[in-house]
Symmetry: C2
Subunit: 769 residues, 2 copies
C-alpha cells in the first residue's frame, strides 16, 4: 500500500501558510481586502463598476493552483502575497448571531452579546411571516455590526429548513415545524430579511439553506447521520422533503446551500449530481455564479468513511467537488484535492468555478468595495436596540400555544399573589436559547418574570427531565407548594434531551416529572403546566387531569422567554400561537422506526405529520384562545373551475406559482378579550392519487388585535400549487375532483368547489438516474 | 380526587427537622454519636459489651414513630434530641473513594484527593484476585481516613457486579467483565479487602453489591432502565445473572445489597419478594440483622412511575419496604411511608426491622464505640501512600492486554526517540478515571509518560470519538507525524460515549478515527494503536491492517494510566492481561436487541458471551505476550469419577462448594522475556442439558515474573460447581458425561475425564411464585 504523499505534503504546505497568518481559531486574522493601497489596488476585483463575475474571475486569475486549492475549506487562509485576507465561511445565526468558528464575541462590553430570539420552532408557531422578516433583518443588521469589527463573517449557515417529521429528531427545534408549505413561506420571509431582499445589489448577508436533503435523523438505534442512507421515493421527496428548498433556491434566490451528512437513495448528498445539479441548479434555475454549496462539517470526509462511497480519500473529495460542493467544511478538500488534481480526478476549471462562486458571493456582499459600501457604518450601537429587545419578546409571545384552559387563564397576578413556581424550566437560563446561540444581553426566566410582576414566588427546581431521575430535589417542592395559593409547573425537555447528534428515544414526560405533576395536581390548588422544549411531549396525562387547569406550550423562548410566558399567563397578550408540529402519543415512537422516511401509512406503520396521522394528542395547527372566534368566507368562489382555463390564464414560468383565488376570510371575535388570530387555510378532498391526505395547509395569515365584537379580514392567496397533488414520479399535477377549503384545524367554516377538465402537469420532476 | 395530605404534611415536618440540622447536601452535619457525654451515654447502644442486635434494638426503642420514619432515606437526619447524628448512606468508591452525596473532598490540601485506581473492567483483566484484595484494602483504608474527618460515610455503594453481557452497556466499565465465575471470584476478594475480612468484629467499611438483579441496560432504543422489564428464565437467571450475587451474599458475607431500577419478569426488583426474600435472604442465608438492602436512587419512586407497578405512591413505597428494601435512596420513603403506615400498608414492626438493620450495621462499624475503636486513628497521612501509588500503577499494568504484535513491541524508547502521539486519549486526564471517581493526586497521560521517558513527542489530538466528527483537528496531525519516526495512536471511546443512563448504539471505531488510523498506517511508519475505553470496540480494521504493528487494549487505566501503557510498550513490564469481555464484530449489535436477556443463541439471535458466541474478533480471555508459554498438567487426575462418590465425600452445607480436584498446571516460559502468565482453566464437554456451552471458565491463577527458560506451577482449585450445569428450572446439577479441562483460550494443553453415575442436584433453586 502506497501512502498518498502528494496530498499530505500539499497539506503541509498549506498548514505552513496558515500558521504564518495566525490561522488558529483563537488567533485568526481577518479583515477586508485592501483595495486602496494593497497589491490588489487597481486590479479588476476592486473595480466597483464591473460585474461580480468579471471581478471574481479577475481575482482568481491571479492565484496559483496551490493558492486555489488552499481556499477550498471553510477556513480559507487567503493569499498573503496579494493582500487577500483569510475568511471563515462557517458562521452561525440560527436565531441571533451565534458562537461558531467565524463568530467571536468579546468577553465583556461591546460585542459581548447579541439579541437572542426564540428557537425557530417557537417562531414558526407564530405563523407570522412579517415577524420572521423583521427578526431576520435584526439578525443581519447585528451580523454586519459584528463583521465590521471583524467578529463575524458575511455568510451564515442558517436556516435549518428540513421539515420536522419525527418528534424524536434532536434538531427539530431548529426548524419552524413539520409542514412543507409553512416552511416554504417562512423561509421566503427569512431570506428576505437576512439577505436584504431577493436580489439586492449588495446583500446584507448570505443565507444558507440546509441540510439538502432528507436530513432529519441524528443518531437513532445505531443509525448515525454520518452514514444513514435515507430511502425516499420521488413522490415523498418532491411533496415533503423538497418544498422548503425549492422556496430557497427557486423562489427566494438564497445565496448558499449546504448538503447534508446522510445519503439519499444510496448517494451521499454532497456527492449527488442528481440533487446538486439536476434538481438544485437545473430544475430550480439556481445558476447564478454567486451561489455556492458548502458541505456539512466533514460530510466530505464521511463520503469516504463511514459511507464507504468512494474507495479512496481523493476519490471522495473529488466526488463531492465534481457534484458541485464548492466549499468543504473541514480540511478534507485542502488535504486531498491536491492529490485528486494530480490524479486527474478534478480539473482546474472546476476549481476556478468553485472559487468564482465563493468570491463573487463576497463581491455581492461589498467585501471588496471599501468602507463606504452599504452596511459598513453599522456598529455595536446597532446591536440590542430597544426595538430588537421588544421584537425578541414579541416573537416569543406570538408563538406560545394555549393547549388547555378551564377558564383559570388569564390569571391576575398582583403584588402578593402567592405562586409556587416548580420545575427545571422555572429558573431556566441558557435552556431558553436551545442550541446555536451566542451570549444574550439578558436571560429572563419565568422566575424573574413572576417576581417582576410583584408575585410572592416560592421556587423549587424539583425533578429534572430524563437526565435527573432522583427525588433529591423534591423536599423543597413541598415546602414551596405549602406556602402558595397557585402552582405553576414549568418542565419538559431541554438541550440535554433533544440535541444535535442524539435523537430522543421517547416522547413522554419523564416518570419523575409525571409523578410530581400528578402529586401537585392532587393537592387541589389552581395549577398550570408549562410544557417547554422544542419537540412535542405527549401531554395526555396533563390534558386528562381535571385538577390541572391550563397547559401552555412555551417552546424554547429566547432571551425574554419568562416575560413572554407571563405576558400570556396574565393576559397582557392573549395567546394565538399554533402548534407547528403534531403532538403524538407516546406509543407513536414504538410504532415507527426513525429510519422510515415514508409519509403515508403503510401496513403497521402509522402515517407521519397531520396530513397522514389522525390520532394526535394535539394536532398540527392546534391552539386555543382567551376568546371565541367565528369566520365567514363571502361566496366569491365559483362552484366549479376548469383546469384548462386555470392553466390558460397562467403566464408564470413556474406554473404552480400562478394565482388561483384570493380568499377573503372574515374573522369575528365573538368573545370579550382582544386577541390575535391565525387564519389557517387547508385544502382537503378526494382528488389525485390515493391515498388522500387528511388535509394540507395552503396559506395562512395572522390577524392582530381583533377587538371584542369586531372583525378583521384575512386574505388567503391560493395558487395552483394549493390545488395540486404530487404523483408517484414526483410530478406536480392538477387533478379534477371535489375540493374543500377549511378554515382552521377544527374548521370555523369551509367552502367547497370542484375542478373539472383534464389533469394537467404543472411541474415535471427530474427523474433520478 | 383527594390529596394524600397526611404524607405530605409528615414530609413537611421532616423537612423542618432536617433544615434545623443543616440538612442540605452542602451543609450536612455529621459526626460520630456522642457516647461519652451526650443523651445516649449509658444507654445500651453505647455498651460495647453487648451484641449489635441488642444495642440497635435498644436505640430504636428510644425513637418515636416519626423519628423512625425520618431515618428511612439515604440522607438520614438522625435524632437531634438524642444526639444521634445525621448519616448519609450514599457513598461511592468504585475504584477509589469517589465524589458522591456522602463523600466530600476538600478544595485543596489534606483530603483534596484520594488514590484513583483503574476502572474495574481493567482490573478484571488482570485476573489477579490478590491484587483486587490489595486495592480494596487501600480503598477502605482511605475511606476510613476520610470518615474520621467526617468527609465520608462508613458504607459504600460498590461493587457493581452485574455481568457485562452486552458491549453496548454504558456501565459495563464499572464491572470486572462478562464471566460469572470470574466476577464471583473477583468480588469475593474485593469484599474481603473492603470489609476487612469476611466476618470481622469491626468492619473496615460495608460494601454493597449492586444492582440486584439482571440490570445491564441504561437507555436503549426507548427502553429506559427505570422501566425496563427484563424477561429472564430460571436457567439463565441462576447460571448467568446470579453467581456474582451468590458470591456476595452466601460466600462473602457482604454487608449490603442494592436492588435495581429494572423489573425482573414483571416485578420491579426493589419490590420483589422472590428476589429479596426467597433467593437473597432464605436461599443464600443472608439473614444477619446487620445486613440491609438499599434501593437504587429513586428506584422506589420508579415502582410508581414509570413501572406503574403500584397504583398509589404509598403503595409503591410499601411494596418496596415490605419486600425488604430497607433504605430508599431518595426521599420517597420519607415522603410516603407515613401515609403507608397510616393506611396500614406497613407495620411498625417492619420499620423497626429496617432500622435495626441500619444501626446494627453501623454498630459493626464501630460507629458507637468512641475514638479508640479500630480504624479511628487513620488520617490523611494514610492516603495516597507511595505503596498505594505503586499499586494503582500495577493494577493498570497487570490489566493491559496485548491484542496484536508483529514483533515491534517491546519498543525501546530513549532520549530523542521521535514519537508522534495522536488521538483523543493521547493526553487524557479524567477520561482515565471513567465514572464514579474523585480527584486523583495526579493524572499521568500517555503524553506525560512518553515525555518522562525522554522521547521527543509530537502530540496532536486529532479526531475525537463519536462526539467529534470534524476534521478540524487534523492538520496538526500531519505536522506531528511528519516530524516523527514512530506513530502511536491512542483513541477509542470515553465517558462521552459509554456512560450511565446511555448505552452505546454502535461498537465500531468512529468513521473519523478509522479514517485517520488508515491514513496514518498508509504512511508506512512503525505504528501502534491503543484501543482505550471500557467496552470493547471492533478493532478488525486494525487487526487486519498489515501496516499497523501492534494493538493494545488499555481500558480505563486510572491515575497513572499513561505510565502503565508505556511500561507495557517499552517492555519494562511484559503484558499479561486478558480480555475480560468478548470483542464482538460491529454487526453483532444489529443482530440482537439489548433487551434480549437470553444467553443462548435462538433463531436469528446470536448467543451472548464467549460461552455461546463463536465469531468474536478477540474472544474473552485472549491476550498475547512478549514471550511464548507452554503448559503441562501432570497426570494426577483420574480418567473417571463417580458422581455419587464425589458427592458422598462432600460435607459442605452448599454442596457446589465441595472440592473436586486441585489441578497443578506447570507453565513454562519458552521465550526470552520474563513475563507474568494468567492461567485460565476452562471446562468443556457434552454433558447436561443441550445446547452445550463452548466452554466455561472454572478457575484462574496469575503467575508472576516467570523467567525465560523457567517454569512456575499454577494451582487451579476445582469444585463440584466447576463440573455442574444448570437445568431449565435453575437447579445446579452434576451430570455424567465427558469433560475436558482446557488451559487457556487457545489451549496450551488439556485433560479429559469422565463423570459416571446418576445425575445429582447440588443446589435446588427456589422457584418463582
Amino acid at each position: 500500500m502506497t501512502a498518498p504523499l502528494v496530498g499530505i505534503f500539499a497539506a503541509f504546505a498549506f498548514s505552513a501558510v496558515v500558521q504564518a497568518q495566525g490561522y488558529a481559531s483563537d488567533g485568526y486574522k481577518r479583515g477586508f481586502p485592501d483595495c486602496a493601497s494593497g497589491p490588489l489596488t487597481n486590479t479588476t476585483v476592486c473595480d466597483v463598476s464591473q460585474d461580480p463575475l468579471t471581478r471574481a474571475t479577475a481575482l482568481i486569475s491571479l492565484l496559483t493552483v496551490q493558492e486555489k486549492l488552499n481556499q477550498t475549506g471553510s477556513e480559507s487562509p487567503g493569499v498573503p502575497r496579494l493582500g487577500l485576507p483569510a475568511y471563515i465561511w462557517w458562521n452561525e445565526a440560527l436565531h441571533g448571531i451565534a458562537s461558531s468558528p467565524g463568530v467571536n464575541f468579546s468577553d465583556a462590553g461591546d460585542y459581548s452579546y447579541a439579541t437572542s430570539f426564540p428557537q425557530p420552532i417557537l417562531m414558526g408557531a407564530a405563523f407570522d411571516d412579517d415577524l420572521i422578516r423583521e427578526v431576520a433583518t435584526v439578525v443581519s443588521t447585528e451580523a454586519r455590526a459584528f463583521n465590521n469589527d471583524q467578529r463575524a463573517g458575511l455568510d451564515f449557515w442558517t436556516p435549518n429548513i428540513n421539515p420536522f417529521k419525527d418528534p424524536r429528531w434532536g434538531r427539530g427545534q431548529e426548524t419552524p415545524g413539520e409542514d412543507p408549505y409553512h416552511l416554504s413561506s417562512y423561509v421566503h420571509a427569512l431570506i428576505d430579511g437576512l439577505q436584504g431582499g431577493f436580489d439586492p445589489k449588495i446583500k446584507r448577508v448570505v443565507a444558507t439553506c440546509k441540510h439538502f436533503a432528507a436530513y432529519d435523523l441524528e443518531n437513532w438505534n445505531g443509525n448515525f447521520r454520518y452514514q444513514f442512507d435515507a430511502q425516499v421515493n420521488s413522490q415523498d421527496l418532491k411533496e415533503y422533503y423538497m418544498p422548503p428548498f425549492q422556496s430557497c433556491a427557486r423562489d427566494s434566490n438564497v445565496g448558499a446551500f449546504m448538503c447534508s451528512y446522510n445519503a439519499l437513495n444510496g448517494v451521499p448528498t454532497c456527492a449527488d449530481d442528481y440533487l446538486l445539479k439536476d434538481i438544485l441548479r437545473e430544475h430550480w434555475g439556481w445558476t447564478n455564479e454567486q451561489q455556492w454549496v458548502t458541505s456539512d462539517c466533514d460530510s466530505v470526509q464521511n463520503i469516504f468513511l463511514p459511507h464507504n462511497y468512494s474507495q479512496t480519500r481523493p476519490g471522495a473529495a473529488a466526488a463531492a467537488f465534481n457534484a458541485g460542493t464548492d466549499i468543504d467544511c473541514g480540511t478534507y478538500y485542502q488535504h486531498h484535492l491536491p492529490e485528486a488534481l494530480a490524479q486527474g480526478l478534478i480539473t482546474e476549471q472546476r476549481l476556478d468555478e468553485a472559487l468564482i462562486r465563493q468570491y463573487s458571493s463576497l463581491i455581492r456582499l461589498g467585501y471588496f468595495d471599501g468602507p463606504t459600501a452599504p452596511y459598513r457604518n453599522l456598529t455595536f450601537a446597532d446591536v440590542n436596540l430597544p426595538s430588537s429587545q421588544a421584537l425578541a419578546l414579541r416573537a416569543a409571545v406570538e408563538g406560545i400555544v394555549l393547549l388547555k384552559n378551564d377558564g383559570m387563564l388569564p390569571l391576575q397576578i398582583t403584588n402578593g399573589t402567592s405562586l409556587a413556581l416548580i420545575g427545571d424550566w422555572a429558573n431556566a437560563t441558557e435552556d431558553m436559547q436551545g442550541n446555536y446561540f451566542g451570549p444574550a444581553p439578558y436571560l429572563r426566566s419565568p422566575l424573574i418574570a413572576a417576581e417582576n410582576l410583584g408575585a410572592s414566588v416560592n421556587y423549587a427546581r424539583g425533578p429534572g427531565g430524563n437526565g435527573d431521575p432522583t427525588t433529591d430535589g423534591w423536599l423543597p417542592v413541598w415546602r414551596a407548594v405549602s406556602n402558595s395559593d397557585i402552582i405553576i409547573y414549568a418542565g419538559g425537555i431541554n438541550i440535554d434531551v433533544e440535541k444535535e447528534d442524539d435523537d430522543r428515544v421517547a416522547i413522554g414526560w419523564s416518570g419523575p416529572q409525571l409523578d410530581i405533576i400528578g402529586e401537585l395536581a392532587a393537592l387541589g390548588k389552581p395549577m398550570i403546566v408549562l410544557q417547554m422544549g422544542g419537540g412535542q411531549i405527549d401531554s395526555t396525562p396533563v390534558k386528562d387531569n381535571a385538577n390541572i387547569s391550563a397547559l401552555l406550550w412555551g417552546g424554547i423562548p429566547g432571551q425574554d422567554g419568562g416575560t413572554a410566558l407571563f405576558d400570556i399567563i396574565t393576559g397582557k397578550t392573549a395567546p394565538a400561537g399554533r402548534l407547528p408540529t403534531t403532538q403524538y402519543p407516546t406509543r407513536y415512537t414504538q410504532q415507527i422506526p426513525m429510519t422510515s422516511m415514508a409519509l403515508r401509512p403503510n401496513g403497521s406503520l402509522p402515517g407521519r405529520t397531520y396530513k397522514w396521522y389522525d390520532e394526535a394528542v394535539f394536532e398540527f395547527g392546534f391552539g386555543m384562545h382567551y376568546t371565541n372566534f367565528s369566520a365567514e368566507v363571502p361566496s366569491t368562489l365559483s362552484p366549479t373551475y376548469d383546469i384548462q382555463s386555470l392553466v390558460g390564464n397562467c403566464s408564470e414560468k413556474y406554473q404552480d406559482r400562478c394565482p388561483f383565488e384570493t380568499i377573503q376570510v372574515q374573522v369575528n371575535n365573538d368573545g370579550d378579550i382582544a386577541s390575535d388570530y391565525v387564519t389557517l387555510g387547508f385544502i382537503a378532498g378526494e382528488f389525485g392519487p390515493q391515498p388522500y391526505p387528511r388535509k394540507s395547509l395552503v396559506n395562512y395569515q395572522r390577524l392582530f388585535g381583533i377587538q371584542p365584537g369586531q372583525s378583521q379580514t384575512a386574505q388567503l392567496n391560493l395558487t395552483l400549487a394549493s390545488l395540486a397533488r404530487v404523483d408517484d414520479l414526483g410530478n406536480t399535477v392538477l387533478y379534477p375532483g371535489n375540493f374543500s377549503l377549511l378554515i382552521d384545524t377544527q374548521p370555523l367554516t369551509s367552502v367547497n368547489f370542484t375542478l373539472t377538465g383534464e389533469e394537467y402537469m404543472l411541474d415535471k420532476w427530474p427523474q433520478p438516474p
